[in-house]
């Protein structure tokens, strides 16, 4: 794996890929997305319409935002299973404070996002301070945060009335829903964070070679806590978008969302084998591919369970492709 050292120092390494497989690994996912788009556009009339594109962008926004944090976490070689429950928890807190306790919407949203941030902080602190694997810690917070969210929903649902929530889906600057804009801006910020800041560079180093990062006197644990906190924060923002999009908060919001996010990250080509390889904008493409597939299945009238089964196989294909491409790398 020593041959991977050029990628290990960061994704911004200016070296241009020379071999076909390197080019394929770099741009393949965009190509695949375009092929999928073309096939879907040709086989389904309503697919390639402006209003349907708008639908897809709106549908992927929540998962897209969560996937940014998941990308950072998975780049470090960890995993965050708690994001699905975290989305539910934050949106329940927002709705509860706003509707049942009469808090102003803005304040309620801030508190909800902070709660999600807190869950992320707990993930980071517990996993680093006690040396417990992230998958186990985030499994614990997945259960706890999900349980707490459902308890506060009290077997019922909350209907939102404030326009501060519904605006994310109804206000459309340049014909694109606000929530899609928020997602795109967050991806841009995520790219800057990962490629242009110390934290971002450290993320790649931790994933590529953790003990090396420690030996280089980097504050590995503190950076890891920051990454998990970021994932929590983004889950909170996604909770706000989810609340705004649906207008009703109910028990199953966010269920299984962590797996959709992991799927988007993997389809985007993040290396699960070596860690430290992957790019956040490719995760966006991965999210869009998953969104297009889901949307196409709905348009074609395919039942939801079949869609789920297909997505499971897509992950396998994506991972095997990743394996084949990386094995051929010189």
């Amino acid at each position: 794996m020593a041959v991977n050292s050029p990628t290990l120092v960061g994704p911004g390494a200016p070296r241009l890929g020379t071999t076909t497989t390197e080019q394929a690994a770099r741009f393949g996912i965009v190509l695949i997305a375009m092929v999928i788009f073309a096939v879907f556009a040709l086989t389904s009339g309503p697919f390639a319409t402006v209003s349907n594109m708008r639908n897809i962008l709106e549908q992927v926004a929540v998962i897209g935002v969560v996937s940014i944090g998941e990308t950072a976490v998975m780049l470090t070689g960890g995993i965050d299973l708690s994001v699905g429950s975290n989305v539910l928890l934050s949106s329940v807190i927002m709705a509860n404070l706003n509707v049942n306790h009469g808090w102003p919407a803005g304040l309620a949203i801030v508190v909800g996002i902070l709660a999600a941030l807190l869950v992320g902080l707990i993930n980071g602190v517990v996993s680093t301070a006690f040396g417990i694997e992230p998958i186990i810690v985030t499994l614990g917070t997945l259960l706890a945060a999900g349980g707490l969210g459902q308890i506060w929903l009290n077997n019922s649902w909350i209907t939102l009335h404030s326009s501060v929530f519904s605006d994310v889906a109804t206000v459309m600057p340049l014909g694109i829903p606000l929530m899609a804009w928020i997602m795109v801006v967050l991806y841009a910020l995520g790219a800057v964070l990962l490629y242009r800041t110390t934290l971002g560079r450290t993320v790649y180093l931790i994933g590529g070679n953790r003990s090396g990062a420690r030996l280089a006197a980097l504050a590995v644990n503190r950076r890891l806590v920051a990454v998990y906190a970021l994932s929590g924060l983004l889950a909170g923002v996604a909770g706000y978008l989810d609340a705004g999009q649906l207008g009703i908060i109910s028990q199953n919001d966010g269920t299984g969302l962590q797996f959709s996010a992991i799927l988007a990250v993997l389809v985007g080509g993040l290396s699960v084998k070596t860690g430290g390889i992957g790019r956040v904008e490719k995760t966006l493409v991965g999210t869009l591919i998953a969104g297009m597939i889901a949307n196409y299945f709905v348009l074609q009238g395919v039942a939801e369970p079949y869609e789920q089964a297909a997505i499971g196989f897509v992950i396998l294909v994506a991972v095997l492709t990743d394996h084949v491409l990386r094995r051929r790398e010189p």
Binding site: I79, I132, L139, L143, A144, I151, L316
Partner: protein, 339 residues
């Protein structure tokens, strides 16, 4: 001398921590809802959670070899639905159960190959299975249950004073698992792979083959759990296994097996499953919903882990201090000898 006594006490606490937690939970629920604890409670709790206990045995092997398996819940649902379909169309229960066994074993072998030979992360491979198997299980019969009856199931649910044959099956499987883990090559190699796959490979352990065995063994455990689940419900249900993989992981982790691999015990995993069973049963006896179970299960997982890590660190620190003291007391002798 007092140092040794403290060390011994902390070690005892560390070792019996899980039993203490179980005892504390039982006493807590017994105080909170007086009618909860009676002669039927213990067998009922064990029998009710039989699929979880069986899966926890398989999961111990998965996690001890550092190959966490997220698929058992979905695979259980799928295997149950496949059994149902075959029974419905052929009328033969045995054929249905055989087909299910073939399914769980072959999926296990393929996963084991992908993880062992192609070196793809077990989390990703089994996550994919978790998703597609759940989809297929729901799709197969439009989420409708298929009733399955048979004399075998009557036996499984038969027993004396609530101590059914199901419980015997679970106990035998747990004991067999413990034997496999500690007294056979399979268990020894599994632990070696978990400690370090690379090291195991270099010392001549056939890592790929034994990784496949670990996943196949999980397949066997899933099948047995499926049989017990069908016998409990009297039907194949597409949601029979939902969430069971997470419960099984929690049970194994509470039982002291860690994902870093190498060490663990099937008996303790079984006890971990009992802790969850007591928690679930106790909370529902208080009239609290599943959401409360999720909340407390998650908190218990983190709390138990943190406390056990702290206890381990304390033991290590006390041992180190004792060694320093030992050296200090024996140093004058050496000085005398040198003189």
């Amino acid at each position: 001398m007092t140092g040794t006594r403290v060390l011994r006490a902390v070690r005892l606490l560390e070792r019996s921590f899980l039993v203490l937690v179980t005892g504390a939970l039982v006493i807590l629920f017994w105080r909170l809802s007086p009618g909860w604890l009676n002669s039927q409670t213990v067998p009922f709790i064990i029998a009710q959670n039989a699929p979880l206990e069986v899966l926890a045995v398989g999961m111990t092997f998965s996690m001890i070899s550092s190959n966490i398996d997220l698929s058992p819940g979905s695979m259980l649902s799928l295997a149950a639905m496949v059994t149902g379909l075959v029974v419905e169309s052929t009328g033969s229960l045995w054929l249905g159960l055989l087909t299910a066994l073939g399914l769980t074993l072959s999926v296990g072998v393929v996963s084991g190959y992908l993880v062992g030979r192609l070196q793809i992360s077990a989390i990703i491979v089994t996550l994919a299975t978790y998703i597609w198997a759940a989809g297929l299980a729901t799709a197969i019969n439009g989420a409708n249950a298929i009733p399955i009856t048979g004399s075998m199931f009557k036996y499984l649910n038969d027993g004396v004073d609530g101590w059914t044959w199901t419980i015997l099956v679970v106990v035998v499987f747990v004991v067999a698992g413990q034997f496999l883990l500690h007294s056979t090559k399979f268990g020894y190699y599994g632990r070696a792979i978990g400690r370090s796959g690379e090291f195991a490979r270099r010392t001549g352990v056939p890592v790929v083959r034994y990784t496949v065995y670990v996943f196949a063994f999980m397949g066997l455990a899933i099948w047995l759990a499926t049989v017990l689940s069908i016998s409990q419900l009297g039907a194949a249900q597409s949601s029979a296994g939902v969430g069971l993989e997470l419960d099984a992981i929690v049970a194994v982790v509470i039982g002291g097996t860690r994902l870093t691999g190498g060490e663990g015990s099937v008996l303790r995993s079984g006890l971990g499953a009992v802790v969850l069973a007591v928690l679930s049963n106790g909370l529902s006896s208080l009239g609290l919903s599943d959401a409360y179970y999720d909340l407390w299960e998650g908190l218990a997982l983190i709390a138990v882990l943190v406390v056990s890590v702290l206890l381990q660190r304390l033991v290590v620190r006390l041992e180190a201090r004792r060694q320093v003291e030992h050296k200090r007391t024996s140093a004058p002798d050496l000085a005398l000898q040198a003189a």
